[in-house]
């Protein structure tokens, strides 16, 4: 595999076929079960199926569960899997192998880390984040404050003001490295340094950057991090999540939920809790073996790639998409949001439109080989509406404004895919096909 991107080709203007031919990551596409019937631009929400995952899961089910039965906890390495896969993910985030474990969901891991940070600094009462952060991060801070009832407060300030707002009352700064909607990217080292200068700790939610770019938690001196397994890691729907705690905090690390698997001696069945050493104590209950096996396949695949190449190709693909959408779709009311071309950003591109939901439905519904799958995120200013209830967005008369979100995933996306996607977006907007009643709001989960 070539070690560098092809220098002479300009990714904004060169022919897609030439760019794909020169792409050192091109062989990775064959490692996914991806049909050419669709252009999949939602790997930032759910990564596609690695070819090895179906085979691996079948082995886990038929041989390890079916034949090995209970013995597989030992003989198939199930019991070590959370720490084993954690150590692999550590290589993707600049952590030591013993600083990461896979357990539960991103949300549950946030819960652990928030409580750990507050318990470690009982005199500090402020948790700092930004408005519009991914909701679960804010909700779990709210939960911790309510549960503790000790006068903590959640302070939300715009991202530009975070560093300046850190003070001697700040216990924890909790930020998402790449914003789920705008793809804005924090300077992890700089913001971490600002938090530390005020004596505060910081937790980075890596959900939208893990597997999409090089990350170096220890170089930045991060205290805590969590990250998602089912997005860029291609770990399968609802894959378990990672949690990182810097080694310097291990000795005093307190979990709010000491479960038996995180005990120092789980099979001694003692009445009294004694935490396992280090990161292992952030395990709580029995790990979901099937989902964890799928995640490991995705992580192993990601470890074969050079994340510097991944980030370079992400930039080339997304800037090509951004430039072409701006040029061809602007006249129809579509606007690329977030950091402009040339600026650092995450690996997805959001395009605002007054009827973004309907346009996305029309894009997905296009005929074979033109169907373009991204997702929809509601406009942040939209008030809670009666029609948006339960887990589904229900039928409404009014159009649903927001963004179409397109994930740029260099392991399997080709420059030709980007060009086809842009042509589809332009055509859907130009023809107005999205105005057909069947594309108006019914339900959206993605």
């Amino acid at each position: 595999m070539t070690q560098s991107m092809p220098a002479p080709l300009d990714p904004l203007t060169a022919d897609a076929a030439a760019l794909d031919a020169a792409d050192p990551l091109a062989p990775f596409r064959e490692r996914f079960d991806l049909s050419d019937d669709v252009i999949y631009l939602d790997g930032n929400s759910l990564g596609p199926l690695p070819t090895g995952a179906a085979e691996r899961i079948a082995v886990v089910v038929r041989e390890e569960w079916g034949e090995g039965l209970i013995r597989s906890w030992n003989t198939a390495g199930w019991i070590e899997a959370p720490l084993r896969v954690g150590a692999k993910i550590a290589r993707l985030v600049g952590a030591a192998p013993h600083e990461v474990v896979v357990a539960d969901s991103t949300s549950v891991n946030l819960h652990k880390v928030i409580h750990a940070a507050l318990a470690a600094q009982p005199g500090r009462k402020t948790i700092l984040s930004e408005p519009g952060n991914f909701p679960t991060d804010l909700y779990l801070i709210e939960s911790a404050i309510r549960t503790l009832g000790k006068g903590h407060q959640l302070v939300l300030v715009p991202r530009e003001e975070i560093a300046a707002r850190c003070d001697t009352d700040t216990a924890l700064v909790l930020l998402t490295h790449v914003h789920y909607r705008t793809a804005e990217l924090y300077d992890m080292a700089a913001v971490t340094a600002a938090a530390h200068a005020a004596g505060a700790r910081i937790c980075w939610d890596l959900s939208h950057s893990l597997g999409a770019m090089p990350i170096d938690l220890n170089a930045a001196r991060a205290d805590y991090a969590v990250g998602c397994g089912y997005k860029f890691l291609n770990g399968g729907p609802g894959a378990p999540a990672m949690v990182f705690v810097a080694e310097r905090h291990h000795e005093t690390l307190e979990t709010p939920m000491g479960g038996w698997i995180g005990h120092a001696r789980p099979f001694a069945f003692e009445d009294t809790y004694a935490p396992a050493p280090g990161i292992a104590r952030l395990q709580c209950g029995t790990p979901p073996v099937l989902s964890l096996a799928a995640l490991e396949v995705g992580v192993d695949l990601m470890l074969e790639a050079d994340l510097t190449q991944v980030a370079a190709k992400s930039r080339a693909l997304r800037e090509r998409l951004m430039a072409r959408v701006a040029a061809t779709c602007g006249p129809y009311g579509a606007e690329v949001i977030g950091p402009p071309i040339g600026q650092p950003r995450g690996s997805h591109v959001s395009v605002a439109h007054p009827s973004a939901y309907a346009v996305m439905q029309a894009l997905i519904a296009r005929p074979r080989r033109r169907s373009t799958i991204g997702d929809f995120r509601v406009a942040p200013s939209a008030p809670a509406r009666a029609g948006v209830a339960g887990s589904l967005v229900e039928s409404e008369d009014a159009p649903l404004a927001g963004v179409m979100r397109f994930g740029i995933t260099p392991l399997y996306l080709r420059f030709a895919d980007v060009d086809r996607a842009v042509e589809s977006i332009e055509e859907v907007l130009r023809t107005g096909v999205w105005q057909e009643p069947r594309f108006q709001v019914r339900r959206a989960v993605t």
Copy 2:
């Protein structure tokens, strides 16, 4: 399928072939991928693979994840799965469909329920349980007390004294319906009534009874319950768990971890948490779809069975095993513990022996068709030992005392299996083969 057990045959003395021929549950054995090479008596720790599960998981992986991609959250019903499978489990535990959801692990669900109970009754400071309860239950109470720092206390009293010990300071009684080691069974209705008489709430951990016997949470007026998916429900290793909250508590139900999936409007992406109605708020992060799909197959299979028949066959199988082990293995130092024949108990049988670990290893290692798989649980009085560290029981010179635990799972166990198992136990004990060095303590997870 016949609707009643065969009356004329005495399960303690009749020929096993005749008992199996008359067994109305016998056809269920074909619904599992179970080899006749082993006698599997550990379904109380990890249920075997239902034949439908391998096929179902392959469909979820290849079609729903591989082809449906992100669309499957809607089109394949992934988003509704936690409530859908919860409603199915509700039928096994005497709950209304909207009182149960599947989420996270048993331990994480215990954490939610403990905090919910304490938040609902801030003036009461005592949590009552028994010594030797399954450790995770006690550890999570400890965690909640430490996190809150509001003067709560965990009081452990023997099971006979629980009812009398409930008083006006008792916030929560947390008990395991069937004891994981002894198989002792609580009278759910009586103990619940005693807790309520003192104004306390009660949580039943159903991990060792769910799927093994009829349970009626609402008849007993239980407040909370949790239960395990990978034991008698045959939901696969690390299957997600159930949590029940009685409808009368829904309106005021507070979760300590309000995550985005448990929000009233998850896809409105609001900054402020608003709980989803009822039990749905006990979801936190994205559910593990693959593990949940496997669990649903196990639950569907269990719903085909008549739990009264299951409980009757469990009694017949276990009392046959208990009587024969007592008769043939007593001279070799083996002792059946827990409630005696004729008394109500859970669906596993524990046999104490001074070298229980080695005997169990020798049983598992027997040749094909005689290999008998149960598990080992350390003696409760055993102190924490240097050799019992991490997640494994490491090599020791001294024998490891405790119990051999045999799970009685009527959907796939035959009377002939029980007889073969007892013959194996007797032979291993009589010949002393367990004294070979290879069976001495090395590692035990199960």
